[in-house]
Amino acid sequence: MTGFQAEWFGNVRRDLVAGLVVALALIPEAIAFSIIAGVDPKVGLYASFSIAVLTAIAGGRPGMISAATAATAVLMVTLVRDYGLEYLLAATVLAGLLQIGAGALKLGNVMRFVSRSVMTGFVNALAILIFMAQLPELTGVGWETYAMVAAGLGIIYGLPYITTAIPSPLVTIVVLTGVAIYLDMDIRTVGDMGQLPDTLPVFLIPQIPLTLETIQIILPVSAAIAVVGLLESLMTAQLVDDLTDTKSDKNRECIGQGIANTATGFIGGMAGCAMIGQSMINVKSGGRGRLSCFAAGVYLLILIVGLGDWVAIIPMAALVAIMIMVSIGTFSWSSVKALREHPTSSSIVMLATVVTTVVSHNLAIGVLTGVLLSGIFFAGKIAQIFRVRSTLSPDGRARTYVVEGQLFFASSQNFTEAFDFGEALENVVIDVSGAHIWDISSVAALDMIVLKFRREGAEVEIIGMNSASETIVDQLALHDKPGALDKLMDH
């Protein structure tokens, strides 16, 4: 009871104020992400309201902001273009259900396989995607647009030097809108981009045929949305954990995101997840509790429904300026400097994640690439940890090989090469009691070595095979046995 109260009402005044700052920044983002996905702004705005409110209640990380996001929006483009909005809504519902399933299976723990380099690559790729999504607004337009965007960025970054009491993105929107109207500029406005909400969202069931074919169409998109959404949410949760020095419930967060997306599909909203940039803005503005995200969603709805006509005349240039700010804030600047200082393999993992994401416009593929690469690099490093020593008997007829270290698929080739088959011997002893045999690749390599020596006419004896192969963890569940760690370490 006390924990519940603290999460909701532990920081009321600051949460309500921070929620307002966040809501003001959410409006341009929700509109911008709707445009990325190719749907009317109202789809993103309804989604942001619903996701923010529901994750505030059901999520596992108080103080984190979830809404319609760029990471998920880029995944929807093709589906919307080829099949239309109804399929997107169905995909949103399915993505939510998949996330609930992931949370129920406690897949949040799988996050530990996503290394720091992959996470850095993720945020950098995300920042680049957000920036690239602004390019259509910046190409083939008159100088007025450039001037407006530049002025917007000037206000966003300049105003905080004068006062931090009013959100500078809000001032940017108000000033640029005023200037555009006063000078009667011929530039694009939010109203040109599609329909804005004029009512509260209503419950609706996506109009799609419930067939296997439909599932085949939406499932790949839903799966990608579910994965990317959870990744960004869990990373953001970790970031908020670090910033506020508190703990979060990662599996509850998975389920919360799932509930939010499922429900959002039924009120005509697109799928979303936690937002890195907005969550930072929230923490910076003093938001800590669930109330901050809840309030942000409610303010957002009040603002767009109440001020819909005013939102329509905001010039796109103002939104572009704000999105460039979000992109810059999301990008990990220190990772560029760290490229030279970090090990090459880490840098390659980070860059590969960024490049594959930017090319595929799919963060899921980028992360998968990064995770696979880091796994391979890790295997490569561990493969170097083995050594073969040998001693020749005084009469020169027998040799004893002592093998130590890690034997597995990545080291089995070097392992085989460490033996000298050209030496004519009568007896060969291979002592593997100091080695860890991790998989059947190394067992096969050992078999082959024995066979080769026999072909050269030597008798082969293997010592310590039992203790070495005990480390085939899959079969013998070594970790369950007492003293298992000692066994691994004492060689």
């Binding site: 500078s168 003093g286 804030g329």
Partner: protein, 282 residues
Amino acid sequence: MPELIALVDGSTYSESVCDHAAWAASRLGTGVTVAHILGHRQGVKTDLSGNIGLGARTALLEELAELDKAKARLAQKRGRAILEDAKARIEALGVEQVETRLRNGDLVETLTDLESDATILLIGKRGEAADFAKLHLGSNLERVVRSTTKPVLVCSRGFKPVKRVLIAFDGGASAMKSVDHIARSPLLAGLAVKLLTVAPDTPEARAKLDGAAALLRAGSFDVETEIGPGQPEDVIVRRIKGGEADMIVMGAFNHTRFRNLFIGSTTTELLRSCQVPILLFR
């Protein structure tokens, strides 16, 4: 081995907690661990500019860490002072073995780590932030009592020597546990004990009461029993106000939080209205 854990927070009740701890320590012949737990401090600085620039993550993290650091330092300094005072007070009352513990974290989580070799926890009825006018109990009190497996001595505002003990006996599991514990512990040995059951006088209730009395008499207590109808909280509060006992022993929070939310809890009512220390068993 220190067996008493006294929780102090620097409020008015801390002195009383020390006095009660010294009293219990001298009766039990053990030492006291005085613990002060620094709650989670949260440095919040409000910057409503709503923008994030290059390196925002790192900058924000450093800024917040810096804020927390300053607060944590201050809290630590204050915590050490509180512990020093408490230690001095308990030592002055004749307890030789007094240890102090200063810990970071959530009170309940930290207690779970600390209490493993303790026999009794001592806590003040209200804490730093308590609102005396409204008779509110400390917000941590119920959390502590509900989370711990050890008996909790909830200390009243001032210490008075304990001579007569009232055991509120409802025949429930935690009441039996409390009688069993008292019969075997030197804590209340030699004091006048009254077993009071507030319930209709049925043979069943009578039998349980007599069983408890026999258990206590076997531990050479001077026991008096009484059974009578009424609302438990009303009857007990009246007895205490009438000066019939200067300590209550009872089983605590036998019902779920959900029920308490609507019906209220006997434990809470007694803690609120009685000006004597109460030893709670879960």
